[in-house]
């Protein structure tokens, strides 16, 4: 039962995050989405996934709060209670397929690999390659911003 409640909450908060007019309220709804996803991970026994979801979510949300306040355009009028109620209703309807339907099929369960083995023995090369890509992206952003600042002075 708790998974169904979490699924409904997840879809409703995702809908609210996208379609509320005020950016700050959208970011608050996105925080709800991250919370529900992390809770689903915890209940499925994926504790590391939940911790990463929280850590990445908190970072993203803090940046979004700041940029939403500084860069977001202020809406002409506030979202009415009627519209918010309609969005919640649409979210509840959209979550019904996930609650009542299921896809048939079977997966072969491999012997359980620990997260350490999975990261370093199975996906070690991927981790290193991704670290290089991310480092390159970060350096690229830093160089672009530095050049822009230099050009502005």
């Amino acid at each position: 039962m708790i998974f169904e409640i979490l699924a409904v909450g997840l879809i409703i908060s995702a809908i609210l995050a996208l379609f509320l007019d005020e950016v700050i309220y959208s970011v608050a709804a996105l925080a709800g989405t991250f919370f529900f996803v992390a809770f689903i991970y915890v209940l499925n026994g994926a504790l590391y996934a939940a911790i990463f979801q929280f850590a990445v979510g908190i970072g993203t949300l803090s940046i979004l709060f700041l940029s939403g306040e500084m860069l977001g355009d202020k809406p002409a009028k506030k979202t009415s209670v009627k519209r918010t109620g309609a969005l919640v209703g649409i979210g509840a309807v959209l979550s019904l397929p996930a609650v009542f339907l299921s896809v048939s099929g079977s997966t072969t369960i491999a012997p359980d690999i620990s997260i350490g083995d999975a990261l370093w023995n199975v996906r070690g090369l991927d981790v290193v390659m991704q670290a290089i890509v991310i480092l390159t992206v970060a350096l690229g952003i830093a160089i672009v911003l530095f050049e822009k600042r230099k050009g502005g002075q």
């Binding site: 169904e4 699924a7 997840l10 879809i11 995702a14 995050a17 996208l18 379609f19 950016v23 959208s26 996105l30 989405t33 991250f34 996803v37 689903i40 499925n44 994926a46 590391y48 996934a49 990463f52 979801q53 990445v56 970072g59 993203t60 940046i63 979004l64 940029s67 939403g68 860069l71 977001g72 355009d73 959209l94 979550s95 397929p97 996930a98 609650v99 339907l101 299921s102 896809v103 997966t107 369960i109 491999a110 012997p111 359980d112 690999i113 620990s114 997260i115 350490g116 990261l119 199975v122 996906r123 981790v127 991704q130 670290a131 890509v133 991310i134 992206v137 970060a138 952003i141 822009k148």
Partner: protein, 104 residues
């Protein structure tokens, strides 16, 4: 209860938001939702719990890099045009193009 359908619905909501929203911050939120739907699949459909979480960590690192690039673009666009609304930016660019044509 099926997590595949749940993540499919979330993916649909994210793609719809990506196609219909004009605010760049909302576009960013849509991309976050799509990434969350994908990572949900990684954990729930993995043949082994550890492998699924390892994939999730890799997906998060890519997602964070993408977020950094999008936010950098958002700051540059907002500073240059004074708004983060794509509709207004396109209108400004069209007006600019029209005035340049008139000068020529």
């Amino acid at each position: 209860m099926d997590f595949v359908i749940l993540s499919l619905v979330m993916l649909g909501i994210g793609v719809y938001g990506l196609l219909t929203n004009r605010q760049l911050l909302k576009v960013f939120i849509s991309i976050e939702l799509i990434a969350t739907a994908a990572t949900l699949n990684f954990v729930m459909l993995a043949t082994s719990q550890g492998l699924g979480q390892a994939f999730l960590i890799l997906a998060f690192s890519t997602d964070t890099a993408v977020s950094g690039v999008i936010l950098a673009l958002l700051v540059i666009v907002s500073k240059k045009y004074g708004t983060s609304d794509m509709g207004k930016i396109i209108q400004m660019l069209q007006d600019k193009g029209t005035s340049e044509d008139e000068v020529q």
